[in-house]
Symmetry: D4
Subunit: 161 residues, 8 copies
């Protein structure tokens, strides 16, 4: 089970990409609005109970001074994947990226690309696939699909003038 | 009473500037190492009890993915002043600045310059000086001293060749 | 009483956020166009008379080479809150942020996020709330409202597919 | 088993931090110099054989135009953790960070902070800890140790003047 | 013969500029979608066979963590020209530029401006023109045309009010 | 007569370059420590009296939130040359550059390179040379000297192995 | 007489601001498309003949790798004002700003804000006003007009709700 | 024959890397100090006569507002390789990189990494190797040497603890 959290419903237009890819890879997930700054207690309860509630990976999306991924990571030893979001209050995404990526020694956040929600989902699957051969197999199939996609685009290119 | 907190003792070489200026302005303070990521519970206890314990302003210094000022601000309505620190794990200070400054609507942090610990102390005094004429007077004297300093430097310049 | 100033009427589309939040928190304010570069004398008169005229906090918004907050701060010991504005003459907001934030020792400006006018209003209220229990109470209520907002968004998220 | 790779022996002064933390957490590892640009074939052989050879996580450090983590990730479905290194040929670390972090959809790299080798090791342990309760327990102990560290620093701070 | 490659068909809206200029300069070319991350084996086959297949210059366009130009360069000694593309997953183009430009010693990529596909075509022609006087002549004519263009624009300017 | 001003005596180690070049070009100057933030009244008096006192150009150096050049420019119609200084409180010089360069319409500052004090002196001479053929002649001689310098360096290069 | 030059007619939509302000200040000017890279010889002829042809100040606008202002400055001792233009081939304006501003010792360019064409015109007038009391007077009037503008905006603000 | 030029003898400490690699690859070269800003006429003579004098590739190194590579490229149709140098007057190398890389359509510069002089030499060899099988062979040998280097480093790593 993967937990998907975000600081605001407006982040869902990006974070829906996580759900999409997890469904494609048949990995169950839950989703929740949890704000580091507006509901700090809820955030800590979420993080502290995560392993007990059966979560295996947490994916947290946030923009601007994006503290959610790092603060959740501070209260669980589950892997936390951070998705920097270029939200309306972000300076071209730099604040989101840096405040998620640059965690101090002891509390890592696995950071993916700006708005890279699909990759967050794939990374979660890869983490689960370490111990689950079935998931690993689905990932290999997904990768094969990427090759086909490239060949499709290649044909499209050949037809362009 | 002003609370000075920082995520690591190594930040003290910058944050000592807060203490220095508060002593010059005769404003009492306490100091504490509180880490957002390593001691999240202590951080929340600190923030939640701050007003009750008589604090009026909190000054928090942090570097890298600097979540301490914003997370303390999330659990108190006291003014929180953030000091971005160019620590060894910081990318030229940009991460510290952006992860303190770019707070979402609802939870502001009063951010000062990179490594600007003295200004954090002065700002705390200015906040206290809103309702305390004695502090306001000391600030005016401090300002007068700055003018004298400029004149001293001016004399030094005139003697330079 | 809070003073809201800005260098140009075009900044009002951002700075109106200050007025909005102050009204919500029942804090009186005045507003004025004051330009550091086009009306320097007016700016100094404003700053020098601010405390005498009963102002307790000044909130100054500016974009580009944003000197207004820092220059007002140079002529008053009241706390000055700076709002960096991503105006049409700004390089992605970096100039506004840096020219407000990076004040030299002795003259701090309490800087909030780029276009963070609402947070400037909340910070002003927090400063007033240090000595005014009634304002502090309204801030606590405002914070509670933020939690409700998160729960509302959470319900919206749960209904999304 | 964790695989630690880097493009140059000069990266070892940073990447040794991975080995250090893995030893502390009693997690076996292997280490290898593998260069994306100078030994592309070796890199692909390494990535393609990784799962078969029993690796569960790969940690790749690189600086400048840092292609090693992303290219290894392109040829395995194991989780790949990228450590951006501020090497001598890097522009303040920005090139290392961006060329590791900004992977296209389909091939994520779990990026940690600039020079954040220890956090890469901890993240690898967290990934292994998803399915290994013993490792999870060691991580909880490690976290407890961080709290003690903060209290030690706190005592040191209290004694400072 | 010049080889034009790109990681995605969506890059063609920029990379078509290469084809346009090569046709103007009467230089034959082939075009192909080749992805470093989704089809690494195809990429290597392309690079390893390039000289044998009669290619003299390779032009590779990519955005975000743009590894294609550098990885192709790692498996051929033909000159490789890199076109950083400001694609939808790029942070204002900085990631594309830095991950193409900052190659380590031993494996250069001749980098042109962000989205500078036409210049990539001209540079390829200049490389061919080193040993081909006919191409060099066409380049001189092209340059003369640029002067005429400036004079045309000048007349337009003179007529503006 | 050229006026050289700076916010702090510590800026003199850069600004001495202005004096050096003006002496070489036999242009009289005065120098003064004037701080925008610590002595705003002195700054305005300086600017307002500048033309009357016979100054023809003002050169102002400042670092960090560098308001001195722009604020002096706001109170005189003399040309003001700004020298961004990479002082100890500057973020790699970006704050100094942007807060001097990005002036709003109506009040320009002629900005030179970071720490470019000598060029500020030369620019002042060029401005004076518009109406003073003697100064223009000295500038032409200075330029000739630059060519000789290049030839000297060239000989040195030819001898290097 | 002021010379206005630009590398492309497309820059005129910005550079027209120079003409506008010079007309307002009754200062004669000429305008010309001159490209550093496409018509280098024309550029040098322009610069070398400028003083002889009666020009007193040259204003050059350019975007991207903006060499025009600096290269013109290399062949005249007249003051050259550079206008960095955020053209379509510019990375958010940073390339334009840095390649105009960061001139080496010996050859300054008086740089104004990004797209700051009006300020370039005013700066040219200020340079002419050093020796021309009539122009200086017009500049003082222009400045007075800026104050009126602020008061007009102030009234507009007072009427806003 | 390759031409190596630089704006100042101080650039030789970087540009010597070009000579070193060309000697290793047995490619003849000449070297010259040529300054875009201090000796513009010499620069143009150099560029205009380059092909006639038997040069096949020009490598130009420059720092700060680095106009030399682009301006040389404007007066020759030979391929010009630009080496951005992080000189003392450069802002962390960004100005050098951007003013060389971001050339307008029509006049490309083949840009290599910051301080990447060796790669400039290799790229020149690759360009010559398009039509010279002997040079191509030497490049393949050089590449093989890189693989050996990696294996040597690997052995060193294996011995490290």
């Amino acid at each position: 089970m993967v937990g998907i959290i975000m600081g605001s419903f407006s982040d869902w237009k990006i974070m829906a990409g996580v759900a999409e890819i997890l469904e494609e890879l048949e990995i169950p997930y839950e989703k929740e609005v949890v704000s580091a700054h507006r509901t700090p207690q809820k955030m800590f309860d979420y993080a502290l109970s995560a392993r007990r509630r059966g979560l295996k990976v947490i994916i947290a999306g946030a923009g601007g001074a994006a503290h959610l991924p790092g603060m959740v990571a501070s209260s669980t030893t589950l892997p936390v994947i951070g998705v920097p979001i270029k939200s309306s209050n972000s300076i071209d995404g730099w604040d989101s990226v840096l405040s998620i990526l640059q965690m101090p020694t002891g509390v890592p956040v696995a950071t993916v690309a700006l708005n890279g929600s699909k990759n967050a989902g794939i990374l979660a699957a890869q983490i689960l696939g370490v111990g689950d051969e079935e998931v690993a197999k689905r990932l290999r199939n997904y990768r094969e699909g990427l090759k086909d996609l490239v060949e499709d685009m290649n044909e499209e290119l050949k037809k362009s003038i």
